[in-house]
Symmetry: C2
Subunit: 355 residues, 2 copies
Amino acid sequence: MAIVTIVGAGFMGTATAWPLTDNGHTVRLVGTHLDREIIQSCQNRRFHPTLQRELPPGVRPYPVEEVAEALHGAEIVVGGVNSSGVHWLAATVGPHLTPGQMLIAITKGLETDAHGDLAILPDVLKAELPATIRERVPLAAIGGPCIAGELAGRRQTCVVFGSRDSEAVERLAVAFRTPYYHVWTTTDLVGLEYCAALKNAYTVGVALAYGALEKSGGADAAGAHMHNLAAALFGQACTEMARLLEVAGATRAFAFGLPGAGDLFVTCVGGRTIRLGTLLGKGHSMRDARARLAGLTLEGAEIIGSMAQAIPRLVAQGRLGAAELPLLRLLVDVVVHGRPADVLLEPFFGGTASA
Amino acid sequence: MAIVTIVGAGFMGTATAWPLTDNGHTVRLVGTHLDREIIQSCQNRRFHPTLQRELPPGVRPYPVEEVAEALHGAEIVVGGVNSSGVHWLAATVGPHLTPGQMLIAITKGLETDAHGDLAILPDVLKAELPATIRERVPLAAIGGPCIAGELAGRRQTCVVFGSRDSEAVERLAVAFRTPYYHVWTTTDLVGLEYCAALKNAYTVGVALAYGALEKSGGADAAGAHMHNLAAALFGQACTEMARLLEVAGATRAFAFGLPGAGDLFVTCVGGRTIRLGTLLGKGHSMRDARARLAGLTLEGAEIIGSMAQAIPRLVAQGRLGAAELPLLRLLVDVVVHGRPADVLLEPFFGGTASA
């Protein structure tokens, strides 16, 4: 049995404490500076206020000031911050890492460098670790459909762990697997992270249909919703994910497996990301939507922002056609350029349908 | 402008009258012997009782006895019966068809012959048409996500028309396309029909999660549902559809486009097929579920029945591995063999996850 240190006490980071403690590991849960109230509640009442659950025995909460102590002797470090916290994570955790510790991130995102080239967050994280340790700590990430509250409720959950280090990813999978937490593994870390990030962007796209429905006044007198439109957006989203995986030289089949269609499905039916797309589809500007959702991490909008830089770069490199990815381009127009969310369906699916 | 005769006055057949009449076509709507009350209501009040909508002007209702008159002079015939009505359709419509009429079916299904080989319904239909006309009537079918009530409500809808006759399918698309009914075309009729049929089977699979949730007493005290499980089943469903398309030599990309992931999504979030899977997932036997759903066409169960015969045939032919399609095999066990719906997740996605 190992010591596992989770850095970041939000929903998803904390939820991994359930399978880990069920497997007999000792878990140290370190809050960031944003998690002070959570850690205080965990220390005083052993209750996680956003997950609304009592912490499992075997979890010890730590404030951020004690991160060095919490990392000491840990075999596995779980990076439990969201995409905007990845630089903080590298700066905070990096100096205390020791060779052979494994780092697995739940962070989902894609960043662009100064040229507009896409980088997956595990690589961003790695680049910011101290040079002395960078190549000596195997890095892994988690993809696939997982609502944190369900994992903490020990509901059946299927995920994919990815790492370029095939031995490390198998060891990590063994450490986490329980009868309710099913872990597949892949060495295609790039493909896994593309899906994990893109599904947040495309959920905004699917949710445009829910917003359009609200804008129209809801279901009509005969009870018609706009599921047909949502489903068309869903199919186009999977198709564009498949194309982006292909462009990246990654596993195209992820588009119709757990990391792509599976994770997109769970985010559309059970996640919080649909709120942004619903507001935009209803006719709110991005500026207005952002104000209404103050306090919520808009990971979908961040990914769309990265893709706004990446698309022209991919076109300039000849890797993507000028008219490809019409749904993602629409999302860029709406989220980055503040244009109205008028969905033009004809260019979808290769553009063969004309009205 | 053309005369279009819809045979079958149920939900989906009748719903095509909206784009057709909006395009200025004259529509004749023929009820089957099961549609007597519908046709009477359409004749007396111009109101379709199951769609809960007034018929558009330009639609003339016909009882089944007048089918010959209704077919006379029609350019396009819409086969609007469900999968169990396809033999009736061939026998009823066949004798009255004339060369050059185009027949487009909304019927979704797969049948097996005496050997267990799969046949798509347009081919079953074709084989039962009179020999003199069989090769002189282009056959087409409709796939993709389309809830009939939304089409009749002129909600945005994206579908795929398929026919081996590339010229006929383009002419049909032109006849149906409106600013809200977007039609893509394909000559891969087999792939399109596989998806249209299989999505009904796999919706039963996804809905097992909803039944498992009900069985467990619903959301837990912290609000956790079973979306993670539903999403894993959804991803596995798309993965198995991709594999079956590959085995059939059809377009694998349909699995993550409109005909596969798109149509599965709409059926899972807005269709009636989830009721069967929910009952089975809750622990009801197939016999019991069938009794509770009396009156509902269980197209998912019919497809699963066909696949029960097809799977061993494909394995015997060396086209499918003995352990492939674990979700479809589970559905066969539950629906055909009456076994309990215990979902074993480890064999999914190539079987690399072991607890």
